[in-house]
Symmetry: C2
Subunit: 114 residues, 2 copies
């Protein structure tokens, strides 16, 4: 449905880009951070996250690098690019517009409240 479709499609990627705009993060960390910040309401699954991260990498919105922790654990860190920051900015703007429209529509004309 026009704007809706595009918006909704981006809702997950907005959140990922937003977190990466604050600092580099690895996949698992992204899921935990979203879970914490949303007070357990947003539980991003691996089946959603990793394909999305790969897709964001393909379009040049993020880059990644391996990092070996001192416990010998390997982590793949994702880093937002300038392109990614522009995407975030644009998607944020679109989200604001869409949510504003939705609020107007579902609150609707006063006479409908009777």
């Amino acid at each position: 449905m026009g704007i809706n479709r595009e918006l909704i499609k981006g809702s997950t990627s907005i959140l990922i880009l937003k977190l990466l705009a604050e600092r580099d993060m690895y996949g698992y960390q992204i899921t935990q951070e979203l879970k914490t910040r949303s007070d357990n309401e947003l539980q991003l699954k691996e089946g959603t996250l990793y394909p999305m991260l790969h897709s964001l990498t393909e379009v040049g919105a993020v880059e990644w690098y391996w990092y070996d922790t001192d416990e010998g654990r390997r982590r793949k860190y994702y880093k937002i690019t300038d392109t990614g920051r522009e995407m975030l900015c644009e998607k944020r703007r679109e989200w604001k517009e869409f949510s504003k429209l939705m609020n107007v529509l579902i609150d609707g004309p006063e006479e409908a409240l009777s």
Copy 2:
């Protein structure tokens, strides 16, 4: 993604139920009304609308009746039920919650603005 999934799934049905809560409408009218109210941004397609209306009928949220206009045109009017009004109320509440959360997350902590 939890709440997101459920919310987004309902975004179209919320709008349909909202319109029907104001007055009975037929399919084509719903598409035009949404288009007008959203200033041409929301163009609900028949392929989305009719399956949705049938689905809402199945779950008892709406009912329908035929109406013959004086020009001999037949229109299928949809009418919201009490169940539908409850659904609308619940969905509206969930939308408010979700959009609020999204706004908090994408605006994020102030230190991220640097």
